[in-house]
Subunit: 221 residues, 2 copies
C-alpha cells in the first residue's frame, strides 16, 4: 500500500535501531519489516552506508534554530550544544548512528557545524582555534548523548533498565578492591550515573567552561 519511500525506510530503520540496537538494522531485516524484497532498498539508497547517513540526517533534521543565536556567542554555543544533546536523546540509537557515519556526509550535521563555527569566530578565536573548538563541542555533544542517562529502548521496561544498572553495579563491586579501590568504592554512583538531566547539564557546563577559560586566556571577548 504505502509506497516505499526514502523517508519511510529511514524511519523504519530508526525504529528497529531504537528498539533492538543499531546492529539489528540490516538490509534484509529492514526489507522484511517493510514487506518488500531486500533489493528494493537499493533503488532508494546506493548502499547501507548511505542508508545510515540518511538515518543520521533524519535525526538532526530541522534542529538548527533559524533566526536564533543573536545573543552573546557563549549563550549561542551553549544553546546549540544543549539542543543537539536534547535532540539526540530522543532516539536511543542516535549516538551510535552518528558514530557509524562520516559527519561530513550528513547535511543536517554540517548545518549545526557551520553555526558552531560562526559562533566560535564571533568569540574572537582564530581560524584554527574555531575549527578545533567546533569539532570539540560537537563530538562532545555526541559523547554526552551516548553517555549514561540514555533512554532505554521503548521495547524495554523500566524494570529492564533497572536490572541492567544492577548488573553493572554488581560487576563493579565484584572487582578486586586492591587494584581498583576507587571504582569499587564508587560502584553505586558509577553504575547509576546520577540523574540524567543533571548529567547533561554538568556535561554542557564542563564543555563550555573549557571554551570560556581558553577564550579569557587568549584575550578573546
Amino acid at each position: 500500500m504505502g509506497k516505499l519511500t526514502r523517508e519511510a525506510v529511514v524511519e523504519q530503520a530508526l525504529e528497529i535501531g531504537d528498539a533492538e540496537g543499531l546492529a539489528a538494522v540490516t538490509i534484509r531485516r529492514l526489507a522484511q519489516e517493510l514487506g518488500v524484497t531486500p533489493m528494493a532498498l537499493y533503488w532508494h539508497f546506493k548502499n547501507k552506508e548511505q542508508l545510515t547517513v540518511g538515518m543520521a540526517d533524519h535525526l538532526i533534521e530541522g534542529f538548527v534554530i533559524e533566526g536564533g543565536y543573536a545573543g552573546p556567542w557563549q549563550e549561542g554555543l551553549r544553546e546549540l550544544v544543549a539542543g543537539l544533546v536534547r535532540v539526540l536523546r530522543r532516539h536511543p540509537c542516535a549516538a551510535d548512528v552518528l558514530d557509524a557515519v562520516d559527519h561530513i556526509e550528513v547535511p543536517a550535521f554540517l548545518q549545526v557545524w557551520d553555526t558552531a563555527l560562526g559562533l566560535a569566530k564571533r568569540g574572537g578565536f582564530s581560524r584554527d582555534e574555531s575549527c578545533m573548538i567546533s569539532q570539540y563541542l560537537l563530538s562532545g555533544a555526541v559523547a554526552l548523548a551516548a553517555g549514561p542517562g540514555r533512554h532505554s529502548p521503548p521495547g524495554f521496561s523500566e524494570q529492564e533498565a533497572a536490572e541492567r544498572t544492577r548488573l553493572k553495579r554488581l560487576r563493579l563491586q565484584s572487582l578486586p578492591p586492591d587494584v581498583y579501590p576507587h571504582i569499587v568504592e564508587m560502584a553505586v554512583p558509577l553504575s547509576e550515573g546520577s540523574a540524567p538531566d543533571l548529567y547533561d547539564t554538568f556535561g554542557v557546563d564542563l564543555l563550555m567552561a573549557g571554551i570560556e577559560a581558553l577564550s579569557a586566556r587568549s584575550g578573546g571577548h
Copy 2:
C-alpha cells in the same frame, strides 16, 4: 610453528585493524592470517566481542605509571589524559577498538579509570562530580585519539594520506556557500586539521580548562 596463543591472536588482530581498519578484523580472516582454522580461535576467546576486549586491553596495557601522580591533582589528570591519548595514537585503529567495546570489560582501562577517580577526589570534587569528571576526561581522550592527526595506516603512504585530505577539502569547498558559509570559508583548516601535536595539546588544554574552572567555581582546591 609458533603455537597459537591469546597474545599472538590479539597482536595479529591489531596489525590487521591498523592496516585495513577494524572492519577487516574478522574471525575467518584472522585465522587465515595465523595459518589456522577459524574455530581454533574459539578455544582462546569465547566470541568475537571478547577478542575485541582483548585488543583494547592490549592497547592500554602497562600504561598507568605505577608510582606517579604524586604532585598536584591537576597535573596528574593532565598527564593521565595526555598519556592515554599518546598511547592510543600509536595504533590507528585504537580509537575504533575502544568505541566498539564496553570499557567496563577492559582491565587496563579500568585501571586508568581508577587512577582518574582518585585524582578527581583529591581535587575536592564530590562523589558524583568525580564520577562524571573521570568519564568525561576518558571519553574525551578517546575522542581526541579518534580525531584528526590520527596516524595513517602503515600500509598507506604519505601520499595516500595527503590525497585523502585533498579530497576532503574539495568536498567541503564544493558545498553550497549560501547554506554553509563558514564551512566553505574554512575548508582548508578544517580538512588539514592543523599540526597533530598542536591539536592534541589544544584538546587536552580544553578538557582540563573545563575541569579547573568548575573546580574553582565550586570551591575545590
